[in-house]
């Protein structure tokens, strides 16, 4: 992966401004590069706020729903590594109950069961 982009993602991860989530979603999770998508998804999970977690859980083709198994598994691992899982559990519950896509609901259910282990 490009070193400069990696540094930018790291800087946005540490940024407190909520606008950083928008940039990560727009430029990172929509990138054609698997490595950039993986790093961005992990960065959004690390932020551990409602808006960032929502991006990697409820969006089709992003985060845990990414078509690349490497990106999806990496995101799940990052979720499992979170110390405070309150917010992620809350979003997972809502996704399982309310999301229109069955695939997204199933993925959310799988992650929730992994968290329960």
């Amino acid at each position: 992966m490009n070193k400069k982009i990696s540094q930018i993602i790291d800087a946005l991860t540490m940024h407190q401004d909520n606008d950083s989530i928008r940039v990560l979603e727009t430029l990172g999770t929509n990138s054609s590069d698997n490595d950039i998508r993986e790093k961005t998804s992990r960065a959004l999970v690390k932020k551990n706020v409602h808006d960032s977690l929502k991006v990697v859980i409820i969006n089709e083709g992003k985060g845990i729903n990414d078509l690349s198994p490497v990106v999806a598994m990496s995101t799940i691992n990052e979720i499992l590594a979170l110390k405070d899982k309150t917010e992620v559990l809350h979003i997972l519950e809502d996704t399982i109950n309310m999301h229109s896509s069955e695939t997204v609901r199933e993925n959310a259910a799988s992650v929730k069961s992994l968290l329960a282990l």
Binding site: N2, K4, I5, Q7, I8, A11, M14, V23, L27
Partner: protein, 144 residues
């Protein structure tokens, strides 16, 4: 009386003592006294000078071997310098000014890139980071 004569006769005869050491033959002090002289009695003047020359030569040879030991690293150093000079000369001959210019430009761009890399941090605003990301994507597209 006869007995006395016998005894006197015995006494008059010389009895050789078996362990008496014979007197040494006199050594000729004068070599020209008639006897044959051994060849190495006198050392020739030429021989002496030869020995001296040998000594001097061996001394020189010894000192030269010591000197060569000292000189060897100096010679190696000189050879190294010579090689470096020749390689530098070859480089100067083969490298054109445009090549030098290109290498300088490359170095400057690398320094600039590194400076930009060091500049990226969370202290930058989100919009600045976004712009940097977009610029990097443009650079990547241009390179591809």
């Amino acid at each position: 009386m006869a007995t006395i004569d016998k005894i006197s006769a015995i006494l008059n005869t010389k009895i050789e003592i078996p362990f008496k050491v014979k007197a040494r033959e006199s050594i000729h002090t004068n070599p020209f006294a008639g006897s044959i002289l051994p060849a190495d009695i006198f050392e020739g003047t030429q021989l002496k000078s030869q020995n001296k020359a040998k000594m001097i030569m061996s001394a020189i040879a010894g000192s030269f071997s010591k000197f060569s030991k000292i000189v060897e690293p100096v010679a190696a150093f000189c050879n190294k310098v010579k090689e470096n000079v020749s390689s530098a000369w070859n480089y100067a001959k083969t490298t054109t000014l445009s090549d030098l210019g290109n290498s300088v430009v490359e170095k400057i761009s690398t320094i600039r890139k590194n400076a930009e890399m060091n500049k990226i941090s969370e202290k930058m605003s989100v919009s600045e980071l976004e712009t940097a990301w977009l610029n990097e994507l443009k650079t990547m597209e241009a390179a591809a």
